[in-house]
């Protein structure tokens, strides 16, 4: 689906609606409180069609995984957010139970998705029945095979389970969630096994993701984006100065807007903890990714530059221990940047044996000087700590 065209169609059809009550007092959130996000113009609801499912979903969905209180979910539904995502495995089922209770009578007015990590037909179907009970519903709109990162993770009987569930009316659409979409094009773009794909996607990722998403969307498969704020944000503790900077300067909102405004993305499911975050994220709908956002994200990338090697090759041959510096730092990026720890570990093992034996901390002074300011010694030490 061409999301740009879709958005234009919806705009002309009057389907971009102001969120009544967002940014207003409502008996709970007066303008006099924090944060500043509430003091702006009311957010607008922006809808897109989720591929061949035909479901009209708000571009801002709701990831319920870490929500602190059910009232946040209830309020999001009241404000018009209409896509809610949970999973069988989140908090051992407690999350599904909270989502079901929070949506209550509004359940049929929203698109509800859950997931199962089970590895065979019988276990999947058993999980689905449990999910329906916890969510207090007769059906889920989208049921994902959870976290399938390799083609071999998916078997024919798992697809069969989804088809059976469809026939039974327990699910409306079949989906798959993945952190490695480019590896899953056989199942998604070629076999067209799913109605919807839930994929990691954010501004910090390799641009090859754009091609993979385009290939999937071309088949009519709906694309939902997760981890849209980039995982690195989440792993920072609130006491970390970088975390505070990102919170303060609106980089998270910019990151969300970046994803929402990319082609082929129907909706997003940022995890939302509280009312404040909901209010902030609502501002991403109906707002273009502007020059100011570009600056914020560029600044963030600049901030992480000391951590990331751009593979210029100027350091090769300068390590007194004979280590392949650029290759090692590239491999470290798989783990730190793209969270592909398994892949990084495999690649590290392919390096000559000395890479697992040398410890950079043993050298009195590092002979490698990066012209772009990458902190080579500490980054190499980190790679050794993680993989060696």
């Amino acid at each position: 689906m061409d999301s740009t065209t879709s958005r234009r169609e919806f705009l002309s059809a009057g389907l971009m609606l102001p969120v009544v009550g967002a940014g207003s007092k409502m008996g709970l959130w007066p303008l006099t409180g924090e944060p500043d996000a509430r003091s702006g113009a009311p957010a607008k609801l922006e809808y897109r069609v989720l591929g061949k499912t035909g479901l009209k979903v708000t571009t801002l969905g709701f990831g319920c995984m870490i929500t602190s209180d059910p009232s946040v979910i209830t309020r999001a539904a009241d404000l018009g957010v209409n896509y809610f995502d949970t999973a069988r495995g989140y908090q051992h089922g407690n999350n599904e139970r909270m989502v079901g209770a929070a949506l209550g009578a509004k359940r049929k007015q929203v698109v509800l998705s859950t997931k199962s990590e089970a590895g065979d037909k019988a276990s999947l179907l058993k999980d689905l029945d449990t999910s329906l009970g916890e969510l207090k519903t007769d059906y889920v709109d989208i049921w994902y095979l959870h976290s399938k990162d390799h083609p071999s993770d998916i078997r024919d009987d798992m697809i069969e389970a989804q088809q059976i569930a469809k026939k039974q009316g327990k699910i409306r659409f079949a989906g798959m969630s993945t952190h490695a979409l480019p590896k899953q094009l056989e199942w998604t773009a070629q076999k067209k096994a799913f109605d919807v794909v839930l994929t990691v996607y954010n501004f910090a990722m390799d641009r090859s993701m754009d091609e993979a998403i385009a290939a999937v969307a071309k088949t009519g498969t709906g694309v939902v984006a997760m981890k849209v704020m980039a995982g690195g944000f989440k792993s920072l503790k609130p006491t970390d100065p970088t975390y505070q900077k990102l919170k303060r300067d609106g980089a998270m909102l910019a990151a969300l807007k970046w994803v929402i405004n990319r082609p082929n993305i129907s909706t997003t499911i940022p995890s939302m903890t509280d009312m404040d975050q909901l209010d902030e994220n609502l501002q991403a709908m109906g707002n273009a990714y502007a020059a100011g956002d570009e600056k914020l994200l560029a600044a963030h990338l600049e901030m992480i530059r000391p951590l990331y090697c751009n593979m210029c090759g100027q350091c090769e041959g300068t390590c007194q221990k004979g280590l392949q510096v650029a290759n090692t730092l590239r491999i470290l990026t798989y783990a730190d940047g793209y969270r592909q720890f398994g892949l990084a570990r495999e690649r590290f093992k392919e390096l000559p044996a000395r890479h697992a034996e040398v410890r950079c901390g043993d050298c009195a002074e590092c002979t490698v000087k990066c012209p772009f300011g990458v902190q080579v010694s500490s980054r190499m030490a980190r790679a050794q700590e993680l993989f060696a």
Binding site: S71, V72, A87, S271, A335, F341
Partner: protein, 279 residues
């Protein structure tokens, strides 16, 4: 300097060796290790726990040691997480436990199920998850055996956090640590919440009475029509759209109260009782 370095190395090695002692498949008869032990940190936990990693990070996760075991066609994994302190370890246990099942006396609290077990002791949170060929098989004896052995080897607190004792027991359905945004409000950063058949109570500890007073004022500003309530050092009550009848007060460095009550007066009545239990 060299001596100090040597001593530190020995201390680290001893610590590591001890840390690995409690990961042993042979604690359950008939089980043996398969594959290498694994170590996860906040940087690579996503690789193992997917989106569920966020739930660990929210509770001050430091590191996790994992091991897979097998017995015939059955496999199980043991995950032992260092959660910084006992509050956080109990916090993640109480967030993940099955609310419909009783809590067993293992460490600060635990649950043994047919094919899984979990408990918290000191700063450690332990999970044992079996993937049995027969998903209906009752493997609770194996779960019990592993959990008890591991608990015996781990050091740390076995009593539940004292804050939980302040909540009334009558009608209590669950009590847990909310790692951020109590009642869905970022101002109420981290605290314990007790859920009842009707309503919920909470206690948040601030750094000082002054910061607690500042938080209370900001929270009050968010509620239309809030009126003073004679609770603790200062307090208010209100009727809110999503939290129904509320009463929130400050006592010393604590901000606490009741929400989701039928009316603010009832919330205030219960808040007075809660205030008397807070030191």
């Amino acid at each position: 300097m060299r001596l100090l370095s040597l001593l530190l190395t020995i201390a680290c090695a001893a610590g590591l060796a001890h840390a690995q002692d409690y990961l042993d498949c042979r604690f359950a008869p008939g089980w043996e290790q398969t594959g290498a032990k694994r170590l996860y940190t906040p940087d690579n936990l996503y690789d193992y726990k997917d989106g569920g990693a966020e739930g660990y990070l929210a509770f001050s996760f430091v590191r996790m040691e994992s091991m897979d075991c097998k017995s015939g066609k059955d496999t199980l994994s043991i995950d032992i997480s260092d959660m910084t302190d006992a509050d956080s370890a109990f916090g993640i246990f109480s967030a993940n436990r099955d609310l419909r099942l009783p809590v067993s006396k293992i460490g600060m609290g635990g649950q043994i199920e047919a094919q899984s077990a979990s408990f918290a002791k000191g700063k450690y949170y332990v999970e044992i998850t079996e993937l049995a060929a027969d998903r209906n098989a009752d493997e609770s004896a194996t779960m019990q055996s592993l959990a008890r052995k591991i608990e015996g080897l781990l050091e740390g607190q076995v009593t539940t956090p004292k804050t939980l004792e302040w909540f009334p027991k009558e009608g209590l359905t669950s009590a847990r640590l909310i790692p951020e945004s109590v009642l869905g409000m970022r101002l109420l950063k981290r605290g314990y919440v007790a859920k009842y058949a009707q309503g919920q109570a909470f206690v948040v500890l601030e750094a000082s009475p002054e910061s607690a007073a500042d938080v209370l004022k900001k929270v009050r500003d968010r509620f239309d029509g809030a009126t003073d309530a004679k609770v603790g050092d200062e307090g208010f009550q209100a009727k809110a759209q999503y939290l129904d009848g509320i009463c929130i007060f400050r006592k010393g460095s604590y901000v606490a109260g009741y929400a989701n009550m039928a009316d603010p007066a009832k919330a205030a009545e219960l808040a007075v009782q809660l205030a008397t239990r807070i030191p």
